[in-house]
């Protein structure tokens, strides 16, 4: 029973990792850019939600919708202002650029007087409710995380499978030049992908906020989503979620069964093993560079 309990809490945590990893993968697939600021986008999302529901006093659902809209705008603006000018430059400079964006976001939040340096709790309607199933004790926060992630995955699947926009995004991610020749507005789509990734990050932030707290350094959890993205295969959307679940469950189990210290490093050990055994990840496409 304890095992099941641990697995469920691992799955809930893994969903968060998976959602952040989903943001990485969306951006990576569309623009070949690795966004090291994904964790910070999540942090911004959580702070937006906090500002909406405590400072401005909106009802929970309004502030959630407001957060998503605000983060979409932030994502599109980021792409337009700093990412687009250097597209085509080496991947390394884009990585450094996104690290810079992360620094600025974290610093800017810390600079808000009275709020930035504190830890906050996000008031949610389902706080502290538990569901008892036999011996299992499930907290509402965890169930909401799992449920919302499942719904979001279904929505994204529908978007990429059935909508014109999603199919255009797929085309762009497969071959930008060819997509451009087919009349797909590649630049605008790249902006939208950043917006979408920021929205996914904001959802992750809002889901994580009731479980942990809202604070300026919560974006560092994004560093654990990298292993998730790699385990799933960096270019695969379902892979990101599966990778997140693997990392979450491994972390939760190793925190209980293995000596202290393994909980924080389990994700990294898994990813190192994965890179040595199967560098393309579980669902990664096997591609080789041709001359």
């Amino acid at each position: 029973m304890q095992f099941v309990q641990l697995v469920i809490s691992g799955v809930a945590l893994g969903c968060i990792y998976g959602l952040i990893a989903l943001g990485f993968v969306l951006i990576y697939k569309a623009t070949e850019t690795v966004n090291f600021a994904q964790g910070e986008l999540m942090m911004l999302g959580a702070f937006c939600g906090l500002a909406g529901s405590t400072l401005l006093g909106f009802p929970f659902w309004v502030s959630v919708l407001g957060t998503l809209a605000a983060m979409a705008v932030i994502g599109v603006l980021t792409e337009r202002l700093v990412i687009r000018p250097i597209l085509g430059q080496p991947a390394f400079s884009i990585v450094m650029l996104t690290i810079g964006i992360g620094y600025v976001a974290r610093g800017a939040i810390t600079m808000i007087p009275g709020i930035g340096t504190e830890t906050h709790t996000l008031p949610v309607p389902y706080k502290d409710e538990v569901l008892k199933l036999g011996e299992l004790v499930l907290s509402a926060e965890q169930l909401v995380v799992i449920g919302v992630t499942a719904v979001l995955c279904a929505l994204l699947y529908a978007l990429f499978r059935f909508s014109k926009l999603g199919i255009a995004m797929q085309a762009t991610s497969q071959n930008q030049l060819a997509a451009y020749y087919m009349g797909i507005p590649v630049k605008r789509l790249n902006g939208l992908v950043w917006g979408l990734a920021a929205v996914v990050a904001a959802i992750a932030g809002l889901l994580l906020a009731p479980i942990t707290f809202v604070y300026a350094n919560m974006g560092f959890i994004g560093l654990k989503a990298f292993p998730a993205a790699v385990v799933g295969g960096f270019g695969s959307l379902p892979g990101a979620i599966v990778g997140g679940l693997v990392i979450g469950v491994v972390e939760s189990l190793s925190g209980f069964y293995l000596p202290e210290g393994f909980k924080d490093t389990a994700a990294y050990i898994v990813v190192l093993v994965m890179l040595m055994v199967k560098p393309n990840g579980l669902f990664g496409e096997k591609l080789r560079k041709k001359v």
Binding site: L87, G116, D264, Y268
Partner: protein, 358 residues
């Protein structure tokens, strides 16, 4: 204007290309040697830090700037070097021997990290080194019998057969000698076949491979040399701070080192030094500027992160070759005066290149 007419290979690989180089670097050397007598104690300490970071920067420059492998966990090598030095000198080893051991051990660890580099590249390598950095930090924190864990570890001043160097000028001299040796070593390496192979790997792995460069061997070698330099810097760092704790070698330190090489200028030895100066001078400049800003901005704790991030973004957007690239432009402007044209250093517009389907 100066025209250098090269008539032999000997002349091509000479370190000082012309008399001007000899003069200015000679002047710099004299200035650095005289620094303990010219600078007040505080500035000498800052200069020592610049030298230490420059060694670590040289290491990362060799890897990221010249071999094109990028590492997000370089602080781990710094940490391995620092802890080795502290533990060995505490056990009574003479410090030069301990420094050699620190460098060798860091190099050995570098080889281990280099192994995944043989299979993965680009972002995957970044994540592998990131993961490795976290694991080393955790090991430093958990192996309490050896490293003192989170409580930290004290490191004494450098000592050699009962003769202790505890003046800051003496320690500065040690750092200066190490920096000069490391720089000359790196410069020399870059003009040997090995260094040329590194640069070939950076520019195109496939063409390097087809020219007969053994990728696995050279990548591992690059990791080992880079880690050895970082370990050397770590050894000096241990003596400078005299107190080590695992959180000095976390991801932020690794990112600082990356910041150093990017802002200094990737792919130039000068860049490591310029970046180190930037990294040490920036907090000073920020604290100087604080007084002129309104209270709400100047005293806010996040100011430094914002400035670092903004400077980094600005450099990547507007000056991708870093401070050294800016200096090249200024130098060309001076050399060609008044014939400098706009756009001589213009970046070529390129289509987005894909690593996946090329």
């Amino acid at each position: 204007m100066r025209f250098i007419f090269k008539t032999s290979y000997e002349q091509d690989i000479r370190l000082a290309k012309h008399g001007g180089h000899l003069f200015w670097y000679g002047l710099l050397a004299v200035g650095l040697v005289l620094a303990p007598w010219l600078l007040p104690e505080y500035w000498l300490a800052q200069l020592t830090f610049v030298l230490i970071y420059a060694i670590a920067g040289l290491g990362l420059m060799l890897l990221a700037g010249f071999t094109g492998q990028f590492s997000l966990g370089h602080a781990a090598f710094l940490g391995v070097g620092a802890y080795t030095q502290a533990i060995l000198t505490n056990a009574g080893w003479p410090f030069p021997l301990a420094m050699v051991c620190a460098a060798l051990l860091a190099a050995a660890v570098g080889v281990v990290v280099g192994l995944p580099a043989l299979r993965v590249k680009g972002i995957y390598l970044g994540i592998a080194t990131l993961a490795f950095g976290f694991i080393v930090e955790e090991v430093l924190a958990r192996w309490e019998s050896l490293t003192g864990g989170n409580a930290g570890l004290m490191a004494g001043p450098p000592a050699l057969f009962g003769w202790t160097i505890d003046s800051s000028a003496g320690f500065y001299a040690i750092c200066l000698v190490t920096v000069v040796l490391a720089t000359l070593g790196t410069l020399n390496l870059l003009r040997t076949p090995t260094g040329r192979a590194f640069i070939a790997i950076r520019d195109s792995e496939i063409s390097a491979q087809s020219m007969g460069i053994h990728l696995a061997r050279y990548k591992t070698l690059a990791f080992a040399l880079s880690a050895a330099l970082a370990g050397l810097a770590g050894a000096l760092y241990a003596h400078k701070l005299q107190f080590l704790s695992p959180d000095q070698f976390n991801i932020l330190q690794s990112i600082d080192l990356l910041l150093l090489v990017v802002i200094g200028g990737l792919g130039s030895v000068h860049g490591a030094f310029l970046g180190a100066i930037f990294l040490i001078a920036m907090p000073q400049l920020i604290s100087l500027g604080k007084d002129y800003l309104p209270e709400a901005i100047g005293q806010a704790p996040g100011l430094q992160a914002v400035v670092y991030g903004a400077v980094l973004i600005a450099f990547v957007l507007f000056e991708p070759m870093g401070l050294y690239g800016r200096w090249l432009k200024v130098r060309t402007w001076l050399q060609l005066f008044p014939f400098y044209r706009q756009g001589m250093f213009k970046r070529q517009k390129s289509f987005q290149k894909s690593d996946r389907l090329k």
